[in-house]
Assembly symmetry: C2
Homo-oligomer: 270 residues x 2
């Protein structure tokens, strides 16, 4: 989970997302709209009997905020919090396991803030299903074949793995950059990602205000996307002054056509 | 405002309640479901330019929680918080002005917890509108007449206040008791109120569990209402195990018929 604003636990319920599956929570910075839902989620996980540890990556004060609130409510959690304090002077790998690598992106905001860069790892080859089925391979063999093994049938015939499988698609990469002013220093860190989320708090007519408040305009988000040669851009974190979001989208698309609005509850498949 | 759970600011928006009118926030105790929305509300009031001070009545740690989060987000509020630390050893008058008197009710919960007793003050007499209109009293005189003055028309005729007004209805009283185990000690503090909100986390078949967790059953809430001779009872704070709430209502109504379920978004007029 990336950031956890107020009401996240209600939204997880609403979109039927099982929060027991959440193992890592990445908090970009300690402005309320990015972390105020964390405490409630931690309390509710506890109330619902969570036993599995949870990893939280955040600015070190986040743990003080959690501990103070556990103490005043006399709560002893039944699960462990593994707290990973973020650094803000250089980008760092936070997590690197069999499935994913996550590293920070240094952003430029009013308080210490990072973005997150995710690289999915494809450790399995893809089955060439028509071929697999033509050899009547039992389902129970699929897992091993995906891992590169040959198939040997009852009569001893060997079917080579290269016949049964195909190269996996390239791993997905995703970069999340919120909140930040326009900063070309991030371009190298997010280059060529499949999907970039970049904040777009204002439109270009408020570029000065964007700069003063350490935020970006929709056009600036698109310029970053273009220069970083990303595949697709999602913009979000819009100021509440914008009731109609189409002009923000249009402004970004003028520079970077493959832009979408990050709307609540939407799923984007790359 | 009494208590401020996660998502309160969104609910205020949803029900079109102007939060600038909120001058006093009473927090019964520091379990998350009673205060986790406060920080977000304070941040948003600030973002929206609130200048008017706000009074917060809570356990002293609440101010530490607020100050820590203001500090880590480098936020300097544009309005003042007047913080009133609650005491938990005897009930105390928190507020006593021309319109209302508020005092605490000592509750019996796992951590220090109070309820709140509100007495509305009727300082104005009610206009007898048909009479007032028959004398062609200008609108600008209404306020003074409500305050007990006679009306003298252009020709010098005096109309006595007793002709123009009626006794005000008795002041409303409201007691809010959440969270608490069954405790007869509160009966004297809430006697004869027009409206009692009393928590009813469980049904009677879970009375033992209610006691262990310092909560009440629907039946116990009704017994308190009956013994305190209140006019009307609202029950709430139901365990999430109850999807259908009608059995809780039925259990309470068996002891105290004038009971309602405190449902989100409902208004109860006494």
């Amino acid at each position: 989970m990336i950031d956890c604003g107020e009401g996240t636990q209600m939204q997880l319920l609403r979109y039927k997302i099982n929060w027991n599956k959440i193992e890592h929570i990445f908090i970009s910075h300690l402005h309320g709209d990015h972390y105020l839902g964390l405490m409630g989620l931690l309390f509710t996980m506890n109330l619902n009997g969570r036993a599995k540890e949870i990893n939280i990556y955040a600015q070190p004060d986040m743990m003080d905020i959690i501990e103070l609130q556990l103490r005043v409510s006399s709560t002893e959690l039944r699960y462990n919090i593994i707290f990973h304090p973020l650094q803000f002077f250089n980008s760092k790998i936070l997590l690197d396991d069999a499935e994913i690598r996550v590293k920070t992106i240094l952003l430029n905001h009013r308080i210490p803030t990072v973005g997150f860069h995710f690289t999915e790892k494809r450790v399995h080859r893809n089955l060439n299903l028509p071929v697999v089925e033509s050899f009547h391979v039992p389902l129970s063999f699929y897992k091993n074949i995906k891992q590169g093994e040959n198939y040997i049938d009852d009569t001893g015939n060997v079917v080579k793995n290269s016949e049964l499988t195909m190269e996996p698609k390239p791993a997905h990469t995703y970069a999340y950059c919120s909140d930040t002013m326009y900063d070309e220093a991030i371009i190298d860190e997010i280059r060529n990602v499949n999907l970039l989320y970049h904040e777009a708090t204002f439109m270009s007519d408020m570029e000065k205000r964007a700069h003063e408040t350490f935020h970006s305009t929709a056009k600036q988000a698109a310029i970053i996307a273009k220069r970083a040669n990303v595949e697709r851009l999602l913009i979000g974190h819009f100021s509440s002054r914008y009731i109609n979001l189409e002009p923000l989208l249009a402004e970004a698309q003028e520079v970077f056509p493959d832009t979408d609005l990050a709307m609540e509850g939407f799923t984007f498949v790359t």
